[in-house]
């Protein structure tokens, strides 16, 4: 019984941490969707570029990977603006399908650009304050410093976004743009700038997430896809465009993927012969998408969605 409880506690903690990381990755995606109704398929590629920024800058400047995060944010914001002014602005004139394929094309373009310049070998950070460090809290309960930092950053980012949108004029203008473009324009809001701002925030937040993740996860040009799939599920689960939804959905997904160790402990605890040695690790993402599927059937707008 004790083993089972310990396993549950461990899963709860690492699920919470990883969930906040998932939420952080999904934040930019949900902001862009909320303001513009555009699904950005290139989201994961912006994460990848953030990761590469840290991998290249940190050894080159001889500084700790943590200090490259502001640069990552800057690179991400500039990239977001470039994408908006160079491509998305024109796509908005076309039908929905053009926007879908447009960002899909952007994804392929960025990925192959990375392949061209960085090569296909995975790269990783080996030195840094966070790399490989962890704290032992209680019996067998380990807090990984990278994930802890990412989780803290995630909460901070969500708070900043919430504050920006609910407490500032710019935020009101953003909300107005997402609620009613025409109306916002009549009120003198430059919706063009609001769109660009959404892309800048989206790009910056996901690139910072990338810069932090690379302390832990090796980067290669295809890494974006891993996180994009989860980010899409997070955003859809939480409700397209909902910032609060992304936070909750991220945590839910983080907890779901931590179920297998609990299952293992439960199987050992029950000691029922036919179940011994049966693990559910290979199905953990199936579980995520299954729950996502259920929510879609029952509540198509997502848990906290307000856009239909």
């Amino acid at each position: 019984m004790e083993d089972l409880l310990v396993a549950m506690l461990k899963s709860l903690v690492s699920g919470l941490l990883m969930g906040l990381v998932f939420a952080l990755v999904a934040l930019g995606l949900t902001i862009i969707f909320g303001v513009m109704d555009i699904v950005n398929f290139a989201h994961g590629e912006m994460l990848m570029i953030g990761m590469y920024t840290t991998v290249v800058l940190s050894p080159w400047l001889g500084i700790d990977p943590l200090f490259t995060l502001p640069v990552c944010g800057l690179v991400g914001a500039v990239l977001g603006l470039l994408c908006y002014y160079g491509l998305i602005r024109y796509l908005l004139r076309g039908p929905m399908i053009a926007q879908l394929f447009g960002t899909f094309g952007l994804m392929l373009f960025l990925r192959n650009l990375a392949l061209l310049f960085m090569g296909s070998e995975p790269r990783i950070i080996h030195q840094g304050v966070l790399v490989g460090k962890s704290f032992l809290v209680g019996p067998g309960l380990v807090l990984e410093s990278t994930k802890l930092a990412a989780a803290v950053l995630s909460i901070a980012s969500f708070w900043v976004c919430w504050w920006l949108i609910n407490r500032t004029k710019v935020g009101k203008a953003l909300t107005a743009t997402s609620l009613d473009k025409e109306g916002a324009r009549y009120m003198g809001i430059s919706t063009e700038s609001m769109n660009a701002l959404a892309w800048a925030i989206g790009g910056a937040s996901v690139s910072i997430a990338g810069g932090l993740l690379v302390n832990f996860w090796p980067v290669d040009p295809n890494v974006g896809l891993l996180f994009t799939m989860i980010a899409f599920a997070t955003v859809a689960l939480g409700g397209f465009g909902s910032i609060r939804g992304a936070l909750f959905a991220g945590v839910i997904i983080g907890l779901i993927v931590q179920l297998p160790p609990v299952w293992d402990a439960a199987v050992r605890f029950l000691a029922w012969e036919p179940l011994q040695g049966v693990t559910i690790h290979s199905f953990k993402y199936t579980l995520v998408y299954f729950i996502y599927f259920l929510i879609m059937v029952v509540r198509p707008q997502g848990l906290f969605g307000w856009k239909q």
Binding site: D3, A7, K10, S11, S14, M18, V21, F22, G119, S120, E121, P122, R123, I124, H126, G132, K133, S134, L136, G140, V142, E144, S145, T146, K147, F216, W217, P218, D220, N222, V223, L225, L226, F227, I230, V257, Q258, L259, P260, P261, D264, A265, R268, Q276, G277, T279, H281, S282, K284, Y285
Partner: protein
């Protein structure tokens, strides 16, 4: 009547000889080589290509200072000094593309035979094409055991496969219990009895997982956790948590590159303390993995070639020196096996003395290349049909290497087979 019979026989003989003479007369023998030269495995593709190229180069000219039969004369002697010409194709990790490329090589380029394809999944489709057209294919580096259980008549594999490699691991574990390992006193059986395994869940990993289960049963080890995981996963902490919870003496992995790195980083941050960590090659034998440095000291990986083989095998050292001069890196498992694959082609052609597929088939089925000709530490190459396997080299052997720090530099030392050991084994693993 008799005259016409003689004429007929002569004509037949001539007809049979023409294609062989025709090709040999061109002084060029085309071999199609299909590897993943772009895409995710491009790095592996590059060294595979290097290995095959170097073997062709050594075969095509006299290379003094290399104690190999094929280095002593230029080209294939029995074919009038015909030169080997390699035609490289890129399958990008795609089995369907591989099959199409094989068709093109056979029909348009008129290759004599095929070498490849590294990915077991691609080797599977390409060998099926070769079987259909009756074109010989030699495979140097695909380790899915299923490839040689299909009863194919035109497919031969030089490398030992995962079943042998996994068995090697259990032999090492038994060796540890019996005190046969260099530098380690016999470990009491109860201190080395619980295993936990995590393998990635594609065809390769799930097969390794099944083999681990099979051998654990045979050798009497406990295996409370034997899980499969998605290699393309953003997080492995749930897997590691399950592994640690089983309190295993040894942790066993079959991982690709990125997930192997993530696995070690997660093990470290979650403070895993097994006595032994073993990886089934692949990700555990990549330069990116080696870059983890001190964190992987003491970790074992099975391999087919390690730079330290050069210490115990002269010809390996000679070839490695040329390879390093040419490409700037040491031979590794991929390049050494690609080299050996093409080398086998050269010896087979030498023995066949013809480019006729039937003659090559006959040569393959009867050839025996002695171990002293090879860069890999095998007893030799001999294809046999044993235990339901067709075209499998039965003289191959796996190695188990251990990452060890020497003068601040990380290297792989051989710890198995016991008689080839190049260093004392570090046991138990220090833990994180």
């Amino acid at each position: 009547m008799r005259k016409s019979l003689v004429a007929l026989v002569a004509a037949l003989a001539l007809a049979l000889m023409v294609p062989a003479v025709g090709l040999a007369g061109g002084k060029e023998i085309k071999i199609g080589v299909i590897y993943p030269l772009t895409g995710g495995a491009a790095a592996a593709g590059r060294v595979l290509r290097n290995g095959a190229e170097l073997a062709a180069e050594i075969a095509n000219q006299v290379v003094p200072g290399v104690d190999m039969e094929m280095a002593k004369h230029a080209g294939i002697k029995s074919l009038g000094g015909a030169k080997i010409k390699l035609i490289f194709k890129d399958h990008q990790g795609n089995p369907q593309l591989g099959a199409d490329l094989a068709k093109k090589l056979i029909k348009d380029d008129k290759v004599v035979g095929i070498l490849g394809c590294y990915f077991s999944s691609v080797t599977k489709t390409v060998s099926a094409v070769c079987e259909r057209y009756g074109v010989p294919m030699i495979n140097g580096s695909s380790t899915s055991p299923a490839l040689t259980t299909r009863g194919f008549k035109w497919f031969w594999r030089t490398t030992p496969h995962d079943k042998w490699f996994t068995k090697d691991l259990f032999e090492l574990l038994m060796g540890l219990r019996k005190g046969k390992v260099r530098g380690v006193k016999a470990v009491p059986a109860d201190q080395l009895s619980v295993l936990a395994a995590a393998c990635e869940k594609t065809e390769w990993g799930s097969h390794v997982s099944a083999l681990i289960k099979e051998f654990a049963g045979q050798y009497g080890f406990k295996l409370p956790v034997n899980l499969l995981y998605a290699a393309k996963s953003p997080d492995l902490s749930s897997e590691v948590q399950s592994l640690i919870a089983a309190k295993p003496d040894a942790m066993l992995f079959a991982s690709y590159t990125s997930d192997a790195i993530l696995m070690i980083k997660t093990l470290k941050s979650m403070k895993a303390k097994p006595k032994l960590i073993w990886g089934q090659d692949a990700g555990f034998d990549k330069p990116e993995f080696r870059a983890l440095g001190a964190d992987i000291e003491g970790i074992l990986t099975r391999s087919v070639f390690l730079p330290s083989v050069a210490k115990v095998k002269k010809v390996a050292g000679q070839v490695n020196a040329i390879y390093k001069k040419k490409y700037g890196i040491n031979l590794d498992g991929a390049s050494a096996r690609a080299f050996t694959g093409l080398q086998t082609w050269v010896y087979v052609l030498e023995k066949a003395g013809s480019t006729d597929p039937k003659a090559i088939q006959k040569a393959c089925n009867s050839i025996k290349i002695p171990g002293d000709q090879l860069v890999v530490p095998w007893a030799g190459i001999k294809f046999a049909n044993v235990g339901g396997e067709t075209g499998q080299n039965v003289l191959g052997m796996g190695l188990i290497g251990q990452y060890q720090m020497k003068n601040g530099k990380l290297g792989l030392e051989i710890v198995y087979p016991f008689d080839l050991a190049t260093a004392d084994m570090i046991f138990p693993f220090k833990g994180y």
